[in-house]
């Protein structure tokens, strides 16, 4: 069994949530050392050296992102932890937050030290009521110990963490939507440029990182970049959380080396398909990414390999569908989600998400024709690369890939109307 780093709590009998247990387990040693002995630039260099790539979905190199911060602006620098985790099929950050909150806080402290941040926010999905409570308690404990506050670890440095709960919108996970929401506005993603590193929350330089990304920072600094790079492909290595849901025997979150094969994840770790069923399709990275057929799962689950296979690692939320799945109905459900969650700013996304769902409902209910399939494809195409954020792409990519990979099934669905008419 692979060593559990991020999900270390699973190897223990003690609860890591109380800060004393976390400390007894070796926690906060690294943060203390960083604050008292290590220069910020050294931390940035280590993270760069580690090739850590963001776990929020896009896989952007974390160290590089940090270097984009506008310098000497005279404004405070903010660190925002993206804990909005709302992508369908994604539930990995939750595992960290609810079971090992101090791991996240420690990663955030080290990151805050690296980028020169005094106030950091954790923006947590509104439905994570328990997670927010856990984090608040953990933060209160850290203040009591003097790990947060006016004099962090006696280093003379000041650092404050705040928990901010969302109110139930997927778009608050998009980093600039998150920023707007944190500022108290509607989560309408911002046009870029400027990017958050230059003009972020409250108009100040801001870094937004995912929960898992920030948790990784603790371990990179604790064990060294070489250790991190020894796990999985060098271009984007590290321990990785994969969330598996759907028609498998053993759904859940699994910590495995980056680049573990999709087949292994499904067949071994998730226990394979339900009794008497065979695999039909897999969405490898949360509902936003192109679907794969059963014959396409011999791929390494890392950023570059999945991209090469025509999909994306995304949030590594693996949605498994067996042969009982009606692909039209499945896509209809996905389209419903994006229709419901589009913030409504951009014309193609606002109008396109609704249109896609309407066509798919018609298709699913046997009211569509072959013509509508072409329409589905061109509507989706018009939504790609034309909007402020990539929610529009996220709505369009599954549609195009479902149509391409399961064209037979869609044609049959479209034929139902013709069939009904003939009968």
């Amino acid at each position: 069994m692979q060593e559990q780093v991020l999900l270390h709590y699973r190897d223990l009998t003690v609860d890591l949530k109380p800060i004393d247990n976390y400390i007894a387990d070796g926690g906060y040693r690294t943060a203390r050392r960083v604050f008292t002995e290590v220069a910020p630039e050294t931390v940035v260099a280590m993270v760069k050296e580690s090739n850590l790539r963001g776990r929020g979905g896009a896989g952007f190199p974390t160290g590089l992102k940090w270097t984009f911060l506008a310098k000497n602006t005279g404004k405070p620098i903010y660190l925002l932890c993206n804990a909005d985790e709302s992508e369908p099929g994604t539930f990995k950050d939750r595992a960290i937050i609810e079971n090992d909150p101090h791991q996240l806080l420690e990663g955030m402290m080290i990151s805050a030290h690296a980028i020169g941040c005094v106030n950091a926010y954790i923006y947590i999905r509104g439905e994570f009521v328990y997670g927010a409570e856990v984090l608040k308690r953990a933060i209160a404990e850290a203040y009591e110990k003097g790990f947060l506050g006016a004099n962090v670890f006696g280093s003379g440095r000041e650092l404050h963490f705040h928990v901010h709960r969302g109110a139930g919108a997927y778009i608050c996970g998009e980093e600039t939507g998150l920023i707007e929401s944190l500022e108290g506005k509607r989560a309408h993603p911002r046009i870029k440029p400027p990017f958050p590193a230059v003009y972020g929350v409250f108009g100040c330089p801001t870094i937004v990182n995912n929960v898992e990304t920030l948790a990784c920072v603790r371990h990179i600094v604790e064990r060294g970049p070489a250790w991190f790079k020894s796990i999985g492909p060098e271009s984007g290595p590290g321990p990785k959380l994969y969330g598996v849901s759907g028609h498998v025997r053993n759904p859940g979150v699994f910590e495995l080396p980056m680049g573990t094969s999709l087949r292994e994840i499904i067949e071994v770790h998730a226990g394979g398909m339900r009794e008497g069923r065979t695999l039909k399709a897999v969405i490898p990275g949360g509902s936003s990414v192109p679907v794969l057929r059963a014959d396409e799962i011999d791929i390494a689950m890392d950023f570059d390999s999945v991209a090469k296979a025509g999909s994306m690692l995304g949030s590594a939320g693996i949605i498994v569908m067996d042969d009982s799945t009606d692909m039209v109905a499945a896509l209809r459900r996905i389209a419903h989600f994006y229709h419901h969650e589009s913030c409504g700013q951009c014309t193609p996304c606002r109008e396109g998400t609704g249109w896609l769902e309407k066509i798919l409902i018609a298709l699913d209910e046997g009211r569509a024709t072959e013509d509508d399939l072409g329409k589905l494809d061109t509507v989706a195409k018009g939504m790609l690369g034309t909007t402020i954020c990539v929610l529009s792409d996220a709505a369009a990519m599954p549609v195009r890939s479902f149509l391409e990979k399961f064209s037979e099934e869609f044609r049959t669905a479209a034929g139902r109307r013709a069939g009904a008419a003939a009968a």
Partner: protein, 537 residues
């Protein structure tokens, strides 16, 4: 200056502008909805998508994705295409998306004819509908959002121009967007109504028929309307306007952009100034007093009777409100000189209930005080002593005290009233000359910042009323003064008198007004102090 190439046309453009503007300079149109030069960039309509073939001379690589022109700042060596198949397809897509839930009720929409949705669709659209009518998202149609503004949610394309105007320009924040996705719609902020002094600007800003003026709704098809470039007479700011009219009727006033004066906006009070141009209160003929009665006379008769009356006076005063034009003001100054009257009098600004708001609205509700003062007028609140004859032009009460003013006029041997409407001074008049309003004749005024601007007539003056300059030129001639045959002649003479370089014509004022510098220089060098000096060339 960076050089930018748009569709093969290279132009040098100012630093820091966006590609939409740069394209304009290159003579290329990038269609857009949400972008407005006076508002922040929202980037939401996605209509202005462009293909960047080279970012700059330093980064000559093309960008993989289409970008929005409104949020792309020019760089030297940038190469942009706005008409290649990729852009055209994307634009067709955006237009199609905009229309799928649109009610397409152009036949009953007031915006028809000046609607960007119509225009761009005709220019760039897909031309056949792929969306089932029954599936359209319906929203509220006739929704009043303010005393003069009606909202049709179905027509709204959610460009947020109106929201941004109310947030960024007036700071009043009456409108916002609520809900998400294709359920998004405009909403009034709780307890609010769009009734701020600049509210109707959002009707102009709205690129489609979502926001319409309740006054203008269903009054006219815009393609039947003509328009003249003019200047608002509502206060001393002199916002540039377009006056929309058809035959003899005015329909509306809209702001005309002038960065030096009003930017893109005007106040609602100014917009309403045309409303009382028609009606029973207008003076449609000239009259002479016979005992207790007024007898109608023709204009030339009225002029010669006035001249005779005034010539019979010992001392005449000329009183003109600050809404008389430069032409009228100049002719009055010439008349004063011939009659040996002192400097013309302009009533001091009344203490107005309207305060300067730091934007456009001025506390001085008259358009030409600065001009009249430059012509040597004196501000006063009463008639000078010893006067036994008075000419009252576009002016009702001096000094705010009606009784005192009435008593003063009562005591006159001769009172000549020149006006475009029936007013209080008429009760004391011996002669009444009917003249045109500023919606009916040419003229110039000088705003509070010393800017000389031209207003233009849109509709004919009612009845027998003549242009103000024409009546006064007649009076001047009847008194033995110079003769002027056209408004341009008067203007040229006043320009010469004020030393505004060589003689000018109205046409030379173009649409933006004359520069402040020329005017200031003119003011410094003229001898206009106590009496109009130079005699017209």
């Amino acid at each position: 200056m960076p050089t930018v190439t748009v569709n093969g046309v290279s132009v040098d453009v100012p630093e820091g502008i966006n590609v939409v503007k740069a394209a304009e300079l290159a003579g290329q149109e990038i269609p857009h909805y949400c972008y407005h030069p006076a508002l922040s960039v929202a980037g939401n309509c996605r209509m202005c998508l462009i293909d960047i073939r080279a970012m700059s001379a330093k980064q000559p690589n093309p960008l993989p994705k289409l970008q929005i022109g409104c949020n792309t700042i020019v760089a030297d060596g940038m190469v942009v295409e706005t008409d290649n198949p990729r852009v055209e397809e994307a634009r067709r897509g955006v237009l199609e998306f905009l229309l799928i839930n649109h009610p397409i009720d152009c036949p009953i929409c007031d915006q028809a004819g000046e609607c960007k949705l119509q225009e761009y669709y005709m220019d760039y659209g897909r031309y056949h509908s792929r969306f089932a009518l029954a599936e359209k998202q319906h929203k509220h149609k006739v929704t009043p959002v303010g005393p003069d503004i009606m909202l049709d949610q179905e027509r709204c394309i959610l460009c947020t121009r109106c929201v941004r105007f109310l947030e960024e320009v007036t700071g009043t924040n009456e409108l916002c967007v609520k809900e998400r996705g294709d359920h998004s719609e405009l909403s009034l902020a709780r307890g609010k109504s769009v009734d701020n002094p600049y509210a109707t600007n959002i009707v102009d800003l709205c690129p489609v028929g979502a926001l319409t003026s309740r006054e203008f709704r269903f009054q006219a098809r815009v393609w039947y309307l003509d328009s003249v470039a003019s200047v608002c007479m509502g206060c001393s700011t002199g916002c540039n306007i377009d006056v929309h009219f058809r035959r003899d009727n005015l329909y509306r006033v809209k702001p005309r952009a002038n960065a030096e004066v009003n930017g893109y906006w005007m106040c609602d009070a100014g917009r309403r100034t045309w409303r009382d141009n028609h009606g029973d209160h207008r003076l449609v003929a000239s009259y002479t007093r016979r005992g207790d009665e007024f007898v109608q006379v023709d204009a030339s008769d009225a002029v010669s009777r006035s001249a005779t009356l005034l010539q019979g006076c010992r001392k005449v005063a000329i009183v003109a409100s600050a809404s008389v034009s430069m032409e009228e003001g100049y002719l009055l100054a010439c008349i004063a000189r011939i009659l040996g009257a002192g400097p013309c009098i302009v009533p001091s600004p009344a203490v107005s209930e309207i305060a300067d708001d730091g934007r456009l609205i001025s506390t001085d509700r008259y358009p030409n005080r600065a001009g009249l003062l430059a012509l040597g007028y004196r501000e006063a609140d009463a008639l000078p002593p010893d006067v036994d004859g008075v000419v009252v032009v576009r002016c009702d009460v001096v000094g705010g005290d009606e009784a005192a003013w009435g008593a003063a006029l009562e005591a006159m041997k001769a009172t000549v009233v020149v006006d475009d409407r029936i007013g209080k001074a008429m009760a004391y008049a011996d002669q009444v000359l009917a003249i045109a309003s500023h919606f009916e004749a040419f003229g110039t005024v000088v705003n509070r910042k010393g800017r000389l601007q031209a207003f233009r007539g849109a509709v004919p003056a009612p009845g027998a009323a003549l242009a103000g300059w024409q009546s006064l030129a007649g009076l001047l001639e009847a008194l033995g003064g110079e003769r002027y045959d056209t408004a341009d002649d008067v203007f040229a003479a006043l320009c010469a008198a004020l030393n505004l370089g060589s003689a000018r014509t109205h046409a030379q004022l173009a649409s933006g007004g004359a520069t402040l510098g020329q005017w200031a220089a003119a003011r410094a060098s003229t001898g206009f102090s106590d009496a109009p000096a130079a005699s017209p060339a």
